[in-house]
């Protein structure tokens, strides 16, 4: 079986498992909606400060929801005992990483695609910004899930498990979040992307670095 087919087989397994219960997608979606609503009264959002706070609110919602998905990613495998099966499968360890990463990105992206239009409506933002916003959101998600998948596989072997994941992941992905928030703000303010070129480069650079390193290091967190 070629490498790509193995990766896709793992993605298909995750999709099949998720479609049976839909618990991850629904909880991620409801949670991100909740974050947006909670911010509404926590920050006392009004017409005059909405535009300034919107990018931050969106990214907190996305990362918190993504964190929920990432923490389940390997805990489910461990609790159901399917991780042994995965390790016994005649595939390269890096294929497991890519498969899990693709699955995670896919689930987070599905939630994002539902939450983005709602976000635009609730914050009264220009609807034509949506296509560019989708692109930036996906770029941000790649970097976030890139390290997240690695850390998720790591924390299932610790005592604190899902509690530890945000503590480890948030500070590490700050460069990704920072540039995503800056780019989102620029898109919503209708600043041309050429003016925020350095943020875009930073985001893409960290996506590549995080995914490459996690891909290389994944072997070491999946032993025994």
């Amino acid at each position: 079986m070629p490498y790509l087919r193995k990766v896709l087989a793992i993605v298909a397994k995750d999709i099949a498992a998720e479609l049976r219960t839909r618990e991850m997608l629904s909880s991620m979606f409801v949670f991100s909606l909740l974050v947006i609503l909670i911010f509404n009264f926590a920050f006392d959002l009004r017409a005059d400060n909405q535009a300034a706070l919107a990018p931050g609110v969106l990214w907190v919602a996305i990362t918190f929801a993504g964190m929920l998905g990432l923490s389940r990613s390997f805990i489910l495998e461990k609790d159901r005992g399917s991780i042994e099966g995965l390790l016994l499968a005649p595939v390269d360890r890096s294929a497991i990483y890519l498969g899990k990463l693709l699955g995670n990105v896919l689930f987070i992206a599905v939630v994002e695609m539902i939450i983005l239009p709602i976000f635009i409506i609730l914050f009264n933002l220009p609807a034509d910004a949506l296509p560019v916003l989708v692109g930036v959101t996906l770029l941000g998600t790649l970097g976030f899930a890139g390290v997240g998948t690695l850390f998720s596989a790591m924390v299932v072997h610790t005592r604190a498990r899902e509690v530890l994941l945000p503590v480890l992941l948030f500070p590490v992905v700050v460069p990704v979040m920072l540039s995503s928030v800056k780019l989102t703000a620029a898109i919503l303010d209708r600043v041309p992307l050429s003016e925020v070129q350095n943020w875009l480069s930073l985001l893409v650079a960290f996506d590549v670095i995080f995914m490459t390193l996690s891909f290389m290091l994944f072997d070491y967190v999946l032993e025994e």
Partner: protein, 239 residues
């Protein structure tokens, strides 16, 4: 006395002597920075001789921690885990002092202890990241697994350090850049005259020696503590 012990003692002695000379230089020899107007600013400026070397040692420690991480993953030798842990502990200590000295300087210069500037924020986030490193270690029972995960984490975590360093060069920030050219918004910056430079580089050197001494000591104590634990387990399993 073992040879390793003698080297450690020598390093500690050298660090002590250099640190005393550094203090004398900073308060006795270094001239006032020329462009600072108020007396408070001129006094506060002298913290720079400790603040910058503190962060330098922090960065150096995290760099060696990441390098030890690579060494551990490739060689599986326990000593690299000990070096990595020691580096993170020392790096955290120095960056904590770096955050505090920065605050002390910021109060008279920027009129605030803390401001949400990119440089300050990335520094604080980096600090939290290495607190996370210690929490990760604490949460794993199995020694080899602990060492392996810690190595992986220290490699990934070190990626943020260049961002931190570049933060004041890429973004508009009020943090001064003393070496190279800074942002137009920087407040409280000053030029490095020849005498200031001399004292500054001596301080960098003295702190680096201090770091080496602390590292040698910490690696030694951690190594011995693990050996003691091993022997204790052996005795317990026999009795």
């Amino acid at each position: 006395m073992t040879p390793g012990n003698r080297w450690t003692l020598l390093l500690i002695g050298a660090a002590a002597v250099f640190m005393v000379i550094a203090i004398v230089l900073v308060f006795g020899v270094a001239p006032d920075a020329a462009n600072l107007t108020t007396e408070t600013e001129r006094y506060a400026q002298r913290i720079f001789y400790f603040h910058v070397p503190n962060w330098w040692v922090g960065f150096l420690a995290f760099l060696i921690a990441a390098a030890s991480g690579v060494m551990y993953l490739t060689s599986e030798r326990e000593v690299w885990d000990v070096v990595g842990l020691s580096c993170v502990e020392i790096g955290l200590t120095f960056t904590t002092i770096g955050l505090i000295t920065g605050s002390i300087w910021a109060k008279p210069t920027w009129n605030t202890w803390w401001t949400w500037d990119p440089r300050l924020t990335t520094a604080a986030v980096g600090w939290l990241m290495y607190v996370g490193y210690l929490m990760l270690r604490d949460a794993i029972e199995h020694p080899q697994r602990r060492a392996r995960f810690a190595a992986v984490f220290s490699i990934i975590a070190f990626l943020s350090v260049p961002v931190n360093f570049m933060a004041i060069r890429w973004w508009r920030t009020i943090h001064p850049v003393v070496i190279g050219s800074g942002s137009l918004d920087a407040q409280g910056g000053f030029a490095l005259g020849p005498n200031i430079q001399l004292v500054f580089f001596f301080c960098l050197f003295a702190f680096t020696v201090l770091f080496a001494a602390l590292l040698a000591l910490r690696v030694r104590t951690e190594w011995l503590a693990r050996r003691v634990e091993q022997v204790r387990q052996q005795v317990l399993s026999r009795g």
